[in-house]
């Protein structure tokens, strides 16, 4: 299956990199030719991102040989990689929030004027031309990155990496936060770059996207390449098996019970931020309620508004009583018991260097105090209880959170919230950019929690997840609830249909 030599592409042999406690790349071998789109697949922690970091000079491997176009390379900084023609569109964006779109794209790519300046006019013109060259969705070159929505930032990130016109272009989960149209654009961009003779490495968790775009694929597991070949010759089953090293379990666990008819949360005329205008809905006990639609139609605002993380107006009833939620602290009160689990795993309020136990009991210290001192026995009992409920594999409750995988960290967050006795959980696009294995564990947990009577509001940008996980689905459009899908109506088509149908009737919301 190996392609000839690395002469016309990229070849790696025996590349090894270890971090304290893990071997991220374990004598990794890799071959790809210029002019192809090569997908790299693997679970989180398989070593994909470490490989990309090696290619982009962010991480220096301990041993191994990398050849680019026949020449050995060894990057010691991102600058060197860029000069050698390796461009990476990072998943964790490499954009500087306080610089403009144009400044970000051209900081190291444009030639400064005679005075040494990178002037606004000059960069603006370059940017407009770049966007036109690559048929990219228009974005004002003078806007600051911090003012752009995530999807537009991602577009800028991709353009920044192709602006250099290097020989290797890496899409590192670059489409994870892109809506449909922009994803199609990114895919055609990848094809075009390959046609121009560039080597395109494509990293994604979406297998169907790989099949649309890539010619060949390398599958990684535990820092090694376990399978390489033409994507056409690999079945989905085979790929997932290679990724997991075992038979795949179902990604979406089936529902085990019907939600009761008791309404625990009733929301009327909720508006929040600039996007959510007027949303009303009920959430029942033990229900998983989906929130979907095109991106940026008020879904985020709905969750954040409910949680008190964003100013909102409207009527909220919990167990039939009107409540006022003006801050997350209000939401977490016992009487309300409403918690949000944010998408950003790194900023979700875990103290990474502290132990699982310390993290979990932090909000409920009051309950484990005896005579003014913390009681270790109470703490251990409490933590072991709740950790068992969320199903995390731990070596002990004293294990530092930083040593857990992303999915398990997510579960610790949930455990922490369960201890605060929350009944209603808001899942804020938790599974964005998460691998299949972790995703299915989180969904399994969601099922178990709902079976125990917790109610869940699940916002996801992937319609497939909504269809497979939710009892009912709210489709938001222009800040309003455009449809509530139940039973057989819960299909990806009807979500899209509901989302688009109301988009076209312009005018009513802009009429103010």
């Amino acid at each position: 299956m190996m392609v000839s030599t690395g002469m016309e592409g990229l070849s790696c042999s025996g590349v090894t990199k270890s971090f304290p406690g893990v071997v991220a790349l374990d004598s990794f071998d890799f071959e790809a030719k210029a002019g192809e789109i090569h997908a790299i697949l693997g679970e989180n922690g398989a070593g994909k991102s470490t490989f990309i970091k090696v290619l982009s000079g962010v991480v220096i491997p301990e041993s191994g040989r990398i050849e680019l176009l026949g020449r050995p390379i060894r990057f010691r900084s991102p600058m060197e990689a860029q000069v050698a023609g390796v461009g990476v569109a990072f998943q964790e964006l490499s954009l500087v929030p306080d610089l403009t779109v144009a400044q970000n794209i051209w900081l190291h790519t444009a030639r400064p004027s005679a005075l040494g300046m990178l002037g606004r006019q000059q960069l603006g013109n370059l940017t407009v031309r770049l966007f036109a060259d690559f048929d990219a969705p228009r974005i004002d070159p003078d806007r600051n990155i911090r003012d752009l929505p995530l999807a537009e930032r991602q577009v800028v990130e991709i353009l920044k990496c192709v602006a250099r016109r290097g020989r290797v272009v890496v899409f590192d989960e670059a489409t994870a936060s892109l809506p449909e149209a922009e994803t199609r654009w990114a895919l055609s961009l990848a094809r075009r770059l390959a046609k121009e003779g560039k080597l395109v490495l494509y990293i994604t968790h979406r297998l169907y996207e790989c099949r649309q775009v890539a010619d060949r694929a390398t599958i990684m597991r535990r820092g090694k390449a376990v399978m390489t070949g033409a994507l056409k010759e690999m079945g989905d089953e085979q790929i997932v098996e290679a990724m997991l090293g075992r038979k795949a379990q179902r990604v979406y666990p089936p529902a085990t019970h019907k939600p009761s008819s008791t309404v625990v949360l009733s929301v009327r005329n909720l508006s929040a931020g600039t996007r959510l205008k007027d949303a009303s809905f009920d959430l029942r006990e033990g229900e998983i309620l989906g929130v979907g639609g095109l991106q940026g139609q008020g879904q985020s605002e709905l969750l954040l508004g409910l949680f008190g993380a964003m100013p909102a107006s409207g009527e909220i009833r919990v167990d039939g009583n009107v409540v006022r939620i003006r801050s997350p602290k209000d939401a977490l009160r016992e009487r309300i018991g409403l918690a949000l689990i944010p998408e950003d795993r790194r900023n979700q309020g875990l103290l990474l260097t502290k132990s699982v136990s310390e993290n979990v009991v932090l909000p409920v210290l009051r309950r484990i105090v005896r005579w003014g001192l913390l009681s270790p026995t109470k703490e251990v009992k409490l933590v072991q209880d709740v950790v068992a409920r969320v199903n995390v594999g731990l070596s002990g409750i004293d294990q530092p959170v930083s040593t857990l995988s992303g999915g398990n960290q997510q579960k610790i967050v949930i455990a922490k919230l369960l201890l605060v006795q929350t009944k209603i959980l808001l899942f804020h696009d938790l599974t964005r950019g998460i691998d299949v294995g972790t995703k299915s564990e989180i969904f399994q947990l969601a099922r178990e929690l709902s079976a125990k009577g917790h109610s869940i509001v699940l916002y996801s940008s992937e319609n497939q997840e909504l269809v497979n996980m939710c009892d009912r689905i709210l489709v938001l459009s222009r800040g309003l609830v455009a449809a509530v899908l139940e039973g057989d109506e819960r299909t990806e088509q009807s979500i899209l249909h509901a989302a688009f149908a109301t988009q076209n009737s312009k005018g009513d919301a802009d009429g103010e």
Binding site: L99, L107, H108, M117, P149, T274, S313
Partner: protein, 339 residues
């Protein structure tokens, strides 16, 4: 369906109207923040003009500019490190050391011209030490520059035992001389403003901002973070030296501890100038204006014949006021935006 969206309280409706007005004129948050120090300056100039109409004369303005110059120079250096997300306490020591060397060199019989030129040319060296300790020894800027402040301040005291001595009168031309009928300090401040407009649009300038804005992202996009950080501390120290030279030209005498008062004042100027103290956002012209604001406040004080302790109190209140306005503006623009 739209009617229900309007059912929010009057307060939120007023807020909505304000936001829409902001959107209609397409005013950016950055622009409004940039304007704040200018508005403060204008307000103070107006109040002084009411108290003392003659304060609008060019002679008066030139004098106030002249007074603010040493602090302004130190603050510009402070701004540059602030943009990277750092801080520099050692500017005080460097300032004192400059004053001491320039004064003592006269007693050693050295000609003032070459001494000043050499001092300026080597002005970045203390910053190099700071930068290397911060970047390569990975010690926090606060600790490193606190330590080097003591060291540079101590060196100043060994060079010049106590305040006093005299400096060759020719150095005085730097602050009192005239070129083409315009006071030297006006030329210097114009030069600084031009530098400010230029510097933050060069690659290094943008890199300095990018480090303070998001260090990780800057590194990933190929910024040589360590080198740029060292450059920032070198510039801070260079500007402190320039401030020291300017101070010497004004008083024509030395003081080995004079710089200490400039440390916290430089932070105040940077804050009044509209800079985000955690780094990534700010501009040099704002800092220039910030220094003028403090000088004008002083003049207003004198004009009102207030006791000296009021100077301090009013400075503190002004600092709180200007920072409060800035955060109110940020709040106004941030609300309703997606997280």
């Amino acid at each position: 369906m739209e009617s229900s969206a309007r059912m929010g309280s009057t307060e939120s409706r007023a807020r909505g109207r304000l936001r829409r007005a902001v959107a209609r004129f397409n005013i950016g948050e950055d622009l409004v923040l940039t304007v704040v120090p200018y508005v403060l300056l204008l307000a103070l100039m107006t109040s002084l003009a009411i108290l003392q109409p003659q304060s609008l004369s060019t002679v008066h303005i030139a004098r106030i500019v002249n007074i603010s110059m040493p602090l302004m120079l130190v603050a510009i250096g402070q701004l540059i490190v602030t943009l990277t997300g750092g801080m520099d306490l050692s500017v005080g020591g460097v300032f004192s050391l400059t004053s001491a060397i320039v004064t003592a060199s006269g007693a050693w019989g050295l000609p003032i011209g070459p001494v000043v030129i050499v001092v300026c040319l080597l002005g970045w060296l203390p910053g190099l030490v700071n930068g290397i300790l911060i970047v390569y020894a990975r010690v926090k800027p606060f600790i490193v520059t606190l330590a080097t402040w003591f060291v540079y301040g101590g060196l100043a005291l060994t060079v010049l035992r106590e305040a006093g001595g005299s400096i060759d009168k020719s150095l005085g031309l730097l602050s009192t001389g005239k070129i083409a009928g315009v006071g030297a300090s006006i030329w210097v401040i114009t030069g600084i403003a031009l530098f400010g407009v230029w510097f933050l649009r060069t690659r290094v300038g943008l890199e300095i901002k990018s480090i303070g804005s998001n260090r990780e992202a800057a590194f990933h996009s190929g910024v040589n973070v360590k080198r740029v950080e060292v450059i920032a501390y070198c510039l801070a120290s260079l500007f402190a030296v320039l401030g020291g030279v300017f101070f010497s030209s004004q008083v024509l005498s030395g003081d080995p501890t004079i710089g200490d008062g400039y440390i916290l004042a430089s932070f105040a100027v940077v804050a009044v100038g509209g800079t985000r103290l955690s780094g990534g956002w700010g501009n040099i012209t704002g800092t220039v204006v910030g220094a003028l604001v403090l000088s004008y406040l002083l003049s207003v004080n004198y004009a009102l014949h207030l006791a000296t302790q009021w100077v301090q109190i009013l400075q503190g209140l002004l600092l709180i006021f200007s920072v409060a306005i800035q955060s109110a503006i940020r709040w106004l623009f941030r609300r309703g935006k997606e997280l």
